[in-house]
Amino acid sequence: MDILQESLNGVSIVAPAGRIDSTTSIELERAVGGALATGRQLVVDFERVTYISSAGLRVLLMTAKRLGGGKGSLVLCAMNDVVRQVFDLAGFLPLFSIEETRELAAAKAAGA
């Protein structure tokens, strides 16, 4: 899976592309783990994500739990309708902080 990683004002950005399913979620987990090693403010950008399965949701849930235990924050952004629907279906929308754009998400993560 193609996963871009960069940093915006001290916030780590992880931007996967394509389908996040039980196979590719392992790569996402690794990328997120790597990003958390350098900083505690994290944005996962869904702009290029076409689909997410429950395995992908689990990675995000795990990440949120890890950050929730200490100082840090996770903000998601730029979800398309399909992805948002998966979050909605699982009842996950209230669990995450979700923004429209990467810039808004990074600002929110930095401010938290």
Partner: protein
């Protein structure tokens, strides 16, 4: 002045309780347990090739071939090759070999100093101790050479020794044994590439009393394993190639032989032999021998690794199939047959064990039902599923309302859920006397209502968060009434996420299309089977990536 070659070696062999025998000749004399030894020692504590007399210019020498229990020369343990003289006694286990003559009596050595460090060095070694040969191992293995007969013998021995079934640890020791017997290093080691690509020492061996640790220069390791070259390094410390700052120190000047363990599928690691140059310098012929040995050994190492991996997989497969038995037994309970309800359900796991489950439970005049999907697949998901299903069975028939039942299952699952696994579930209760239902949704796909007039409608039940995520969650009840003949179809996302070979998903639209065309199909089992057939036909030979579950409850009300 050049001394004459050593003459005939004459030996007298004494075995306990037997008449002494004699041996005379110009060829090497091997003492050991193997039937091919010139002097056979029939004793389990002797090594197969234990010790050897050999000619070194004008001298006859005795050396230990890396035996387990050592060789005594005049009562003293042999730590390095030593010159022998008439009257010397060599002892291997309970066999004593007395030296009666070495031929030197007739031609005494004029300049013994000349022989001390002059083993058969090639003309590469013209001016200094700096000398190394790096050659492609394949080329070396294919070389015809004058050492062909000893090489053939070695390979023969290796082939035979490696033919019987052994573990990989035994195999590596055996390879080192062979290398010690023929190439007589002081130390040797086999390094194998781990799953992480790093070389790790897998076996080692050294002569008793050898000092110094077995360390390998990273650059040598790279030269051998990455480039597939066999290396002969006669002076490790002064060879620029291997003295980089990150490389490892050698204690003292050593002669080193290294060869890759490669086969057609790539490099598995390498075998490295060392000797202090005071004891022995390896030659190019030795290098060729080691390269040949390594080629044969690599094939065998690969085979054994494959066999061991297959055996391990077999154990895991067996455990998984047992787990599946347990899982299927949980699903395959006595079918509920009642006149007022028609039930059908089927689950197709993506792997041997899966994370979906469904259940129907009768509690007085109520039928409890649930269809659920644990995040993930395989063993961990199956365990989570077993816990979730057990909780449902324990909690559902206690008379709690549907929302509280779901909240309690959730609380139990959320407690100590370190792996952050979660379960989406759609469950509820059907009152068999009236057809009224109370439904609760924990983040699951919405079911379909099949009306008796052919209507197919998504049941827009209120949603709650998936089970196991947060300890305190609520699952508001949605009510629905089924008239006799009407049904509810529940499923997991394995249905809509099933993909065809082109990667297109089945989707909810195809589910609705199927139900619109087949809502009338009876009994419920046949409708379930029909949807499975439609999904399978759509997916073709694309692999099933997720568990697929479909359940149908039709209220007959009779």
């Amino acid at each position: 002045m050049v001394a004459a070659d050593a003459g005939e070696l004459r030996l007298r062999i004494e075995r306990p309780g037997r008449e002494p025998t004699g041996h005379a000749g110009f060829a090497d004399v091997v003492i050991g347990r193997t039937e091919k030894a010139d002097v056979r020692v029939d004793d389990q504590s002797a090594s197969r090739r234990h010790a050897r007399f050999y000619r070194d210019g004008h001298r006859w020498m005795i050396e230990d071939l890396g035996s387990r229990n050592g060789t005594l020369l005049n009562g003293k343990r042999l730590s390095e090759p030593s010159e022998i003289h008439p009257g010397d006694a060599v002892r291997v286990c309970d066999v004593t070999v007395r030296v009666e003559g070495t031929g030197s009596e007739a031609a005494p050595s004029a300049e013994p100093a000349n022989g001390t460090d002059a083993p058969a060095l090639t003309d590469h070694d013209t001016d200094s101790s700096l000398f190394s040969v790096i050659r492609p191992a394949a080329e070396l293995a294919a070389l015809p050479d004058e050492g062909a007969s000893s090489r053939l013998q070695l390979l023969n021995e290796v082939h035979r020794a490696l033919a019987r079934p052994i573990t990989s640890a035994e195999l590596l020791q055996m390879i080192l044994d062979r290398a010690f017997a023929v190439l007589k290093p002081e130390q040797g080691a086999i390094f194998l590439q781990g799953a992480d690509g790093q070389l790790a020492r897998a076996a080692e061996r050294q002569l008793p009393g050898t000092k110094g640790s077995l360390l390998v220069s990273r650059r040598l390791a790279e030269e051998v394993t990455v480039k597939g070259a066999a290396a002969l390094v006669l002076d490790a410390q002064s060879d620029q190639r291997f003295s980089g700052s990150e490389s490892i120190l050698f204690s003292g000047v050593r002669s080193i032989l290294a060869a890759p363990l490669s086969d057609a599928d790539g490099c598995l690691g390498m075998i490295v032999l060392y000797s202090s140059i005071q004891v022995r310098r390896f030659t190019e012929q030795d290098l060729e021998l080691l390269a040949s040995l390594a080629t044969v050994a690599a094939i065998r190492i690969r085979n054994i690794a494959h066999a061991e991996a297959a055996a391990a997989r077999k154990v895991v497969d067996h455990e998984l199939s047992l787990a599946r038995e347990v899982q299927m037994a949980m699903l395959r309970r006595r079918p509920l047959t009642r006149p007022d309800v028609d039930l059908g359900a089927r689950l197709a796991p993506a792997r041997i064990v899966g994370g979906d489950f469904y259940d129907f439970l009768l509690d007085g005049d109520s039928l409890w039902f649930i269809v659920a999907d644990v995040s993930g697949k395989g063993m961990a998901a199956a365990l989570m599923m077993a816990v979730a299903q057990t909780l449902f069975r324990a909690i559902a028939p206690t008379g709690l309302p549907v929302d509280e039942m779901m909240a309690r299952v959730n609380r139990e699952l959320a407690r100590d859920n370190e792996g952050s696994m979660f379960v989406t579930a759609f469950g509820g209760r059907l009152r068999l006397d009236s057809g009224r239902m109370e439904l609760a949704n924990a983040g699951h796909n919405l079911p379909y209502f099949l009306g008796k007039d052919g209507r197919v409608e998504l049941v827009r039940a209120k949603n709650g968060v998936a089970l196991g995520v947060v300890e305190e969650a609520s699952y508001p009840i949605t009510e629905l009434a089924l008239a006799p003949g009407e049904a509810l179809l529940l499923y997991t996302d394995g249905v809509c996420d099933a993909v065809d070979p082109a990667g297109q998903a089945f989707g909810t639209a195809r589910i609705e299309e199927f139900l619109t065309a087949h809502h009338h199909v009876r009994p419920a089992d046949a409708l379930v089977q029909g949807l499975f057939d439609a999904v399978n036909a759509f997916a073709g030979n694309a692999p099933q990536e997720d568990d697929i579950t479909v359940a149908v409850l039709r209220y007959t009300g009779q």
